[in-house]
Amino acid sequence: GAGVSQTPSNKVTEKGKYVELRCDPISGHTALYWYRQSLGQGPEFLIYFQGTGAADDSGLPNDRFFAVRPEGSVSTLKIQRTERGDSAVYLCASSSTGGRLTYNEQFFGPGTRLTVL
């Protein structure tokens, strides 16, 4: 079946602009995660959705970052007033379980490479 998809694959923007990154999880997966990966580093957690609600947004770096998942499927990560330090690959993952009582094997999408000039 189809895996996690992300669009766009690449996004170049200018400092100060607003961007939206989209994630389409594996069909039926209730949990959705956003991570950010800088060059040469491991992914860093941003936010986790269980259904429509954000179960943990502790990784969002500041209030310029916001994410939604209005219907419990597709999610959009929104970044306002972009800064050069926001340049990274933004990865989305989904899992079929999610939650306290069971493990959460996460399947990752191809990522969106964001470059802020």
């Binding site: 995660y33 491991g42 860093e44 957690f45 986790y48 993952a93 493990y103």
Partner: protein
């Protein structure tokens, strides 16, 4: 704050040799994951380890988990060029409100030479 450390960070191996990558973490957890990442690609799930003493094997890779030592290992047997990639371990905190969130190690860049 959970910390996950891998070593070595860089590993250059000859084909046919064996080696082990280590993953240490700083807090109690019995949920550990190994991923592979090829250059410019996303992460591929390799192993899910969910209990003390868990061992999983797939081809030339074997992963194990010691929750008391807070240590996981990824052992490579008779390396081949196709194994060249970056390998990440990731730990899921299973307590409080932090479940679901993965904390990754820095990654180990493995290069296998003829």
């Amino acid at each position: 704050e959970l910390k996950v450390e891998q070593n070595p960070l860089f590993l250059s191996m000859q084909e046919g040799k064996n080696y082990t990558i280590y993953c240490n973490y700083s807090t109690t957890s019995d949920r550990l994951y190994w991923y592979r990442q090829d250059p410019g690609k996303s992460l591929e799930s390799l192993f899910v380890l969910l209990s003390n003493g868990a061992v999983k094997q797939e081809g030339r890779l074997m992963a194990s988990l010691d929750t008391k030592a807070r240590l996981s290992t990824l052992h490579i047997t008779a390396a081949v060029h196709d194994l060249s990639a970056t390998y990440f371990c990731a730990v899921e905190e299973a307590g409080g409100t932090s479940y679901g969130k993965l904390t990754f190690g820095q990654g180990t860049i493995l290069t296998v030479h003829p």
